[in-house]
Amino acid sequence: MQRIGVFVCWCGSNIAATVDVQQVADELAKEPGVVYSTNYQYMCSQSGQQMIQEAIKEHHLTGIVICSCSPRMHEATFRKTAAAAGLNSYMVEIANIREQCSWIHKNKEEATEKAIILGRAAIAKVHLNAPLTAGESPVVKRALVIGGGIAGIQTALDIADAGFEVDIVEKKPTIGGKMAQIDKTFPTLDCAACILTPKMVDVAQNEKIHIYSYSEVESVKGFVGNFTATIKKKARYVKEDVCTGCGLCTEKCPMKKVPNEFNQMLDNRTAIYIPFAQAVPKVATIDPNACMMLKNGKCGVCSKVCTAGAIDYTQKDEYIEQQYGAIVVATGFNTIKLDNFDEFAYSQSPDVVTSLEFERLMNAAGPTGGTLLRPSDHTHPHTLVFVQCVGSRDISGCGKPYCSKICCMYTAKHAMLCREKYPDTEVYVFYIDVRTPGKNFDEFYRRAVEEYGVHYIKGMVGKVAPKDGKLMVQASDLLANDQLLIEADMVVLATAIEPDESARSIATMLTASMDTNDFFTEAHPKLRPVESPTAGIFLSGVCQGPKDIPETVSQASAAAAKVIGLLVKDKLTCNPCVAESNELMCNGCSACEKVCPYGAITYSDKEFRTPYRTTIMRRVASVNPAVCQGCGACTVACPSGAMDLKGFSTRQIMAEVDAICK
């Protein structure tokens, strides 16, 4: 028989206001095996913990039940408390009488009754608890960063700085991401390339960092400290280690009409291409959908002009398997498609552009060499209308329900740059709210208005109608209570952003959770913002939620710090609550193996003794405790009841259910 102690926490008034804690302690004292029962204001406080430790020693307790908040909050705390008093950590059970009781009930009598029942269930379980010892698993001292934008770059640099190996997997031919496409950065207006490209070079030159460009993560297995990833290096038909990046092939390639992704399709590139001058790695890539040689074997010009002999039309996709201790997701974002917003005439007029397209039109390395020209006729625009919140804050089903966060600031930047470079322009910004919560952000926006004379109009554009080469912008001016009709030369849409389309499949691969908008969920919105709830998975940049460059870089470094904290450990304590197979009951059906998400279960033929001194060979399951994460899927799938979970055995769960139903 166990000697059980019960400790009922008030949690200040969080529990005590709704639950009669004295009555709970008194009632639970009557349960079989309970030799000590008390209540206290803050059980998690130092004095509360001390009280528990003293009681363990004084009453020779073999198990304790804490009636308090969710085990997610303080189970670890109380396990340490018990261990310090010489009681095995796994002899501690938490009855959650806060989140599951006091917070959700109003009637004190009913809440007290429920708290008692929850306490009883925990006591029933403790009776069947057995001491467990956690094993250890080694940590692979290497990190994987998925995505090579500014988030991935910063995370990789910081991890490498601490002395650990890092691999960046980038699906595009170069790292750099969206920041490489941007012209200037707010609020200081320094050139994006000037501050990004040195970092890209740092990455390339860092001995600890390996870049897998034009590559994708195919699959991930394993668990924290011990992941195995398969990386698909897509065939680029150019030998990466031979190509010098001279660019001769891109000059000579006869296929010159391929829409250029880097310039948001505003101009064309060749079939063999280097996305931009500062690309890392500076290696050419052949677009297999455009190359005549790859499509029908007719051409071969690039191969002829390449003095290094780097072209290889026979190259195949390559698969690389690599071990990692930690994985950082930095998959970034895209602007949404504007199919649902044809009232702004994006598909009807080339002079209606997205803000990202506008970045390219203002960029010295862009399709117009940095001179702002209308895409339709390459003339200088005089009147520009910027429309904010296009597809953001939209619950109609056409756009995204969230605020994309970056648009207010980059629109102010665009408007300001426009007026600065071209003082003859009239610039209008239609806004719903101007949101500038950041250091020097509001000052920046006010400068656009006060010093640069940008016309900020509170209201929204209702329709854009192309007319005689102009764009008739019909919009409301809410403060003047008027409807305006502006004859504009260009319209720029501050298009909502959404997570990259690869995010969902990567989340599935990593068993990392996402929200309804496909942003990765953090372990705690305030206190663990850069960790996924899945151990060993960390989040960097917009994949977790909209953010600008300064915020992305902060989060990227934070994620790196968390990764470093993991990688410096030589061993990790394993969860001892793992599955166990009873070989005598196992019928070898493989049901458990099929449902195990971690690949922790294997089958082998084993010899078993039978009566009359004979033996038989039977196929039975066994669990690798280092790989098992204790999810319990196998215990449910097992038809013969051979699988059980330590610490959460079928008997324990049934005892809890019985106690509740009593």
């Binding site: 044809d342 009232e343 005439a345 089903g397 854009v464 109608a465």
Partner: protein, 260 residues
């Protein structure tokens, strides 16, 4: 294919051409239009109040009649289509209206939006197919530049009407191509003509209709087509652009099929 057909009041009077040419063309296309017996006026406008059930009953009767024959319900007039489609949606999705309407009608089997409401243009697109239509054209309107005028009622609200992209539709342009002519895209093809305001506030109707017609003309249109008798009236009477004829789309269809 056999359809139940809801012509509506105006097609029996001022807009008899819209009806006549639709029927003639349907014959050529192998479509049978069986006019619902004793149909009643849809009311012209969809009742927007959440507690308006009675004004929707006429539509429910037509929908039920089609259901009883096991046929889809074919419409021509934009207003009738709009009302029938939306009432049908209410019967399928709005429990309050469904219950009240069924309680009132006392049908043997309650109606819950089972009938499919199909506009003649949708029928041409989805059942006949514009390619098939093109193949049956004997008198293509070669080189004619035609501006399609959609107006409001066929397109909006798009979540219920599900007719086409409400801001950049193409069904009528595809129709124009099928009959051998050249569609003219202009920005005001989905803006209001002034609608029922024609009666009470003629000035407003004039402003709106002329904006539409001028935009069509500026973009090179030689004529305009519509599916709505009220749009037809506004564009013709209040549009103020005399040298831009307006036709019902069915008239040009019949002409192309050689049955006009």
């Amino acid at each position: 294919m056999v359809y139940s057909y809801f012509p509506g009041c105006t097609l029996k009077n001022k807009a008899s051409d819209l009806d006549l040419y639709a029927r003639k063309s349907a014959e050529v296309l192998g479509i049978t239009m069986e006019e619902i017996e004793e149909w009643q006026c849809c009311g012209g406008v969809y009742p927007l109040g959440a507690n308006e059930t009675a004004p929707k009953l006429a539509s429910v009767r037509a929908l039920v009649a089609a259901k009883e024959k096991g046929q889809d319900l074919l419409t021509l007039c934009s207003a009738c289509h709009h009302v029938l489609k939306r009432v049908n949606n209410d019967m399928a999705e709005n429990e309050n209206i469904r219950t009240k309407a069924n309680n009132y009608m006392q049908l043997e089997v309650p109606y819950a939006g089972e009938t499919k409401v199909v506009h003649y243009l949708e029928m041409l697109r989805d059942v006949v197919g514009f390619d098939q239509l093109k193949a049956k054209v004997v008198n293509p309107l070669k080189g004619t530049k035609i501006a399609a005028y959609y107006g409001c009622l066929l397109l909006r609200p798009s979540k219920v009407l599900g007719f086409d992209n409400p801001e950049n539709p193409k069904i009528m342009e595809d129709f124009i191509k099928a009959i051998g002519a050249e569609p003219v895209i202009y920005p005001y093809r989905n803006e209001c003509c002034g609608g029922y305001m024609a009666m009470e506030n003629k000035e407003l109707a004039k402003k709106k209709s002329s904006t539409v017609l001028q935009s069509a003309k500026e973009n090179g249109a030689e004529c305009v087509i519509t599916a709505c008798p009220l749009c037809m009236y506004n564009l013709k009477v209040n549009g103020g652009v005399d040298d831009l004829p307006v036709y019902y789309f069915t008239e040009l269809l019949a002409q192309a099929l050689g049955v006009k």
